[in-house]
Symmetry: C2
Subunit: 224 residues, 2 copies
């Protein structure tokens, strides 16, 4: 393996390990020693790639933002300017939160009150939801009296709520639960003619696997 490849691999391992440790204990208590040990590299190697913990957190957030962007772009490419693109993206984001520790840690860091850096993830998601609902509303997708602002707020509150509750109990992130929320909350906001064509169950779920991370999801129990 050439030197550059090895460096890239070490960097990826550090981001993955940092995401795991941030997700487990939070940003402030996470120690660089724990992260380098988890990644199987020396402290020196960690400091070669990342000057401090904030830079590691930013790398986790940047990778989570990449994944979020790929997921929203793919939903729009498949579904165009329709409500279905939003339903699909919500399903895929919830699936990513359940299965990919980098995405989960990225969003948790965004909500971590102890970290003062402004975080891009929730903002980026909110902007995409607003833009998509504006487009869908132009096409007449929303019920009479429901604005794109209303619909965007509903989606943003729903996804933040599911994200936070899903951190303790992955049932909230499951396809079954997200489908039911779509039926209960989105169908009433949808134009009557469009209701029949909205597929609340979203796309088939694929495991967005984080290599080397055991899924903590299956073991959890449905609480409500």
């Amino acid at each position: 393996m050439v030197k550059q490849e090895r460096a890239a691999r070490t960097r990826r391992a550090l981001i993955q390990a940092a995401a795991e440790v941030f997700a487990e204990v939070g940003f402030v208590p996470a120690s660089l020693a724990t992260i380098s040990k988890r990644a199987g590299v020396s402290n020196g190697a960690l400091h070669f790639h990342f000057a401090n913990k904030i830079m590691l957190a930013e790398a986790v957030e940047a990778e989570a933002a990449d994944k979020l962007r790929r997921l929203t772009e793919s939903a729009r490419a498949r579904q165009g300017d329709s409500l279905q693109s939003v339903v699909d993206a919500v399903h895929e984001l919830m699936n990513a939160l359940a299965r990919d520790v980098v995405v989960r840690a990225g969003f948790q860091l965004a909500g971590d009150i102890a970290r003062r850096q402004a975080s891009p993830l929730r903002k980026e998601w909110q902007r995409w939801v607003e833009d998509s609902l504006r487009r869908a509303a132009r096409g007449g997708a929303l019920a009479d009296g429901v604005s794109w602002v209303d619909a965007a707020r509903v989606i943003v509150v729903l996804t933040v709520g599911l994200e936070v509750l899903g951190g303790k109990d992955s049932f909230w992130l499951s396809q079954q639960n997200v489908t039911r929320f779509c039926e209960l909350l989105l169908l009433p906001l949808t134009d009557r003619k469009a209701v029949g064509t909205l597929v609340c169950s979203g796309p088939p779920r694929q495991a967005t696997v984080s290599v080397g991370v055991p899924s903590q999801v299956a073991a959890r129990e449905r609480k409500l």
Copy 2:
């Protein structure tokens, strides 16, 4: 002032100061020295009342739980086993989160991943919501095909989402926003005959004042 009164007053000042500091910086970075200084008491006085930071956090949570209980009991006393009791309690909880730093810090501590103690607040709220919707459903308050479990999940996700988003932007907690969410999300779940009698704007808002805490709310701007 007799000795006991003075002790009780010091204890209250410490809980108030701890809530402010936890809400501002999070549990892990909060220092006992900052808290005692904020409360205007010596470090020794702090340690006389609270052996460590965990006990202070538990006292904040206990006081927030008291306030939550008073708020839900009063909504039920006024509105009985109706959907209106839930709408009123949601409004009052959101108002308390906006105006009372002890309630806000209590809920934030519950969500603080760095604190391993199981926290009672969200669980208590969830149980009350479930119980209230079970009662309301027995009286025929929900639309055909909507179970009390469905309705309870919607309320729980909605309130967690508003709580978390409201921590950065108090518009989410405002009467205007909560009323709109009731119209968009709860009216479609309500029995057709009951829709006309549900008051989505909730009870008149009273300032649940935390004495000595400047409201950080008014200064914030509506973001969406």
